[in-house]
């Protein structure tokens, strides 16, 4: 079964700025896929559309067999419950404890929101929060305020919070862009291990090609809002990188006239 289906998505801002133009792909359950592309290629818009934060101008998105429709709030909330998100800026509440931040991951599952406050939470919920913290190796920091953590620790707490959802899909939007290389590797190892052990579909936006090749099976490259290439990460070589990002890896401005035809064709065959 397909975990993610994106069907001819088009997103136009202010009736003239085309962010996404006819983007289509499907991702199977348990697949690990990376989205590549330079700044402004449409990666973030794609992610925001997948999670219903943006409404596509045309086309449709289906997650776990449910259509993502920002207009139907209740239906959207139900869909989001099994989709965990990891953000570049972590999205933690800085002035509360690590434990409380993890408990907030259960907000979508409780009938009465204050039931996620540590003071009122059930024993079962509190135990589960500690298990999630233990899974990311930070149970010993449960009582620490979130703003007293390093960047790598914050991202691991954000992952623990996401685990409270018991997700079937993880969408990671540049999860290591704010981290140093060592912390970045630790976070990626953790995400990959969790996805593998629970057969979770993992879709990531990453900028670093070596990291993408190490942690993903497949890549989808976006350029100017369109799918530029889609295939196994093993086919990515220097020529492709140059064609996608320019001469020395990811850059602000992509080259405009290079033709990546051979790689693109090879990738599309896969």
């Amino acid at each position: 079964m397909n975990a993610i289906e994106v069907n001819k998505i088009r997103k136009v801002y202010n009736q003239r700025d085309v962010a996404l133009d006819g983007v289509s792909f499907t991702i199977k359950e348990g697949e690990s896929v990376v989205i590549l592309g330079h700044n402004g290629s449409g990666k973030s818009t794609l992610f925001r559309t997948l999670t219903g934060f943006e409404e596509p101008t045309e086309g449709s998105v289906t997650l776990l067999g449910r259509e993502v429709d920002p207009g139907k709030r209740r239906h959207l909330r139900e869909t989001r419950k099994k989709v965990g998100m990891v953000f570049q800026a972590f999205g933690l509440i800085d002035n509360v404890s690590v434990f409380q931040n993890v408990l907030f991951g259960a907000l979508g599952q409780v009938k009465f929101a204050p039931a996620t406050y540590s003071l009122f939470a059930s024993d079962a919920l509190r135990t589960r929060a500690m298990e999630c913290l233990d899974r990311v190796g930070l149970a010993h920091l449960s009582e620490r305020r979130a703003d007293r953590l390093s960047g790598g620790q914050k991202q691991r707490i954000a992952i623990a919070r996401m685990l409270m959802q018991d997700p079937e899909i993880i969408l990671a939007d540049e999860p290591i862009a704010s981290l140093d290389p060592k912390a970045g590797r630790e976070v990626m190892d953790l995400l990959a291990e969790i996805a593998a052990e629970r057969n979770i579909t993992l879709l990531m936006i990453l900028h670093q090609i070596p990291i993408a090749k190490r942690y993903a099976d497949r890549f989808i490259a976006l350029k100017n809002g369109e799918v530029y290439a889609d295939g196994e990460v093993s086919v990515i070589d220097e020529d492709f990188e140059t064609a996608l990002f320019g001469n020395s890896g990811p850059k602000e401005e992509p080259p405009s006239d290079e033709t990546p035809q051979p790689i693109e064709q090879e990738a599309r065959k896969l």
Partner: protein, 261 residues
């Protein structure tokens, strides 16, 4: 030839000129109507000296009833501020763009808060004395309204300034509107809410001391009575007690803010 520097003075527009003239007119008539003369200024200084002469030493013989009036004043301020702070939270959520997307409702609550803030507390006190009669209840209602006018505005401004990323992170878990408010807006804004509430309490205590002048309970009525009876030594004692209470509350509030916020 060197270039000409800009003009020292720009000629104002006709409307600015009219505005300046009107303000000047009010200034002149204001000073004129106040009948400020040198003899009155000198007389005033003499009268203050006379007051101080009669007020010293302050008379502490009625400390018992005065302290109970002071405690009533403090209680009025505390109860009124707490009620105002509690009501301010939902009002602020309705006034903020972050938490209320219905612009009509937002404008309505903002308008109501503006009315509460701009009408002076003594005017509210007069209205509530008519509504519920003389005594501390009228004072509590006055302080509640005054606190909503102050806190709801600052609370909603704080909510507007909050980092939007945690809100989006919690929305992405499938959380609904109240979940996002519970898990993101309130925890992030609470330190600022507490700080603002402590300022509101300080303001309420200062305000509560004069509400008695219009019959809305508290120590103000005692002060007014002693001044009218020219018992200046007792009036000074009341002023000293008010001063001590305000300073103590301000000091404690400052310490709490410094430690926790």
């Amino acid at each position: 030839m060197s270039p000409t520097p800009p003009k020292r003075f720009e000629k104002p527009s006709i409307w600015s000129f009219i505005l300046i003239l009107v303000v000047l007119l009010f200034l002149v008539t204001g000073i004129n109507n106040a009948n400020i003369t040198l003899s009155r200024v000198i007389g005033g200084v003499m009268n203050i000296g006379d007051f101080l002469g009669q007020a010293f030493p302050p008379d502490f013989s009625r400390i018992g009833p005065i302290m109970s009036a002071m405690i009533e004043t403090f209680e009025m301020a505390l109860v009124g501020t707490l009620a105002g702070v509690i009501i301010s939270v939902p009002v602020a959520l309705l006034s903020s763009r972050t938490t209320n997307s219905i612009s009509f409702l937002r404008s309505l609550t903002r308008g109501a808060v503006t009315v509460m803030r701009t009408v002076p507390d003594l005017v509210w006190a007069l209205l509530f004395v008519i509504a519920v009669g003389l005594g501390p209840f009228a004072g509590i209602l006055t302080i509640t309204i005054d606190t909503i006018g102050f806190c709801a505005r600052f609370f909603s401004e704080r909510i507007d300034e909050l980092d939007k990323k945690p809100k989006e992170a919690l929305e992405s878990t499938g959380s609904g509107y109240f979940g996002v408010i519970t898990g993101s807006v309130l925890p992030q804004a609470t330190p600022s809410f507490v700080g603002t509430s402590l300022f509101a309490l300080e303001k309420s205590i200062r305000g509560a001391t004069v509400l008695g002048l219009v019959g809305a309970g508290g120590i103000g009525v005692e002060l007014s009575a002693q001044m009218s009876l020219r018992n200046f030594d007792q009036a000074l004692m009341i002023i000293i007690i008010i001063l001590i209470l305000v300073l103590v509350v301000e000091n404690i509030s400052q310490r709490i803010r410094a430690k926790y916020i």
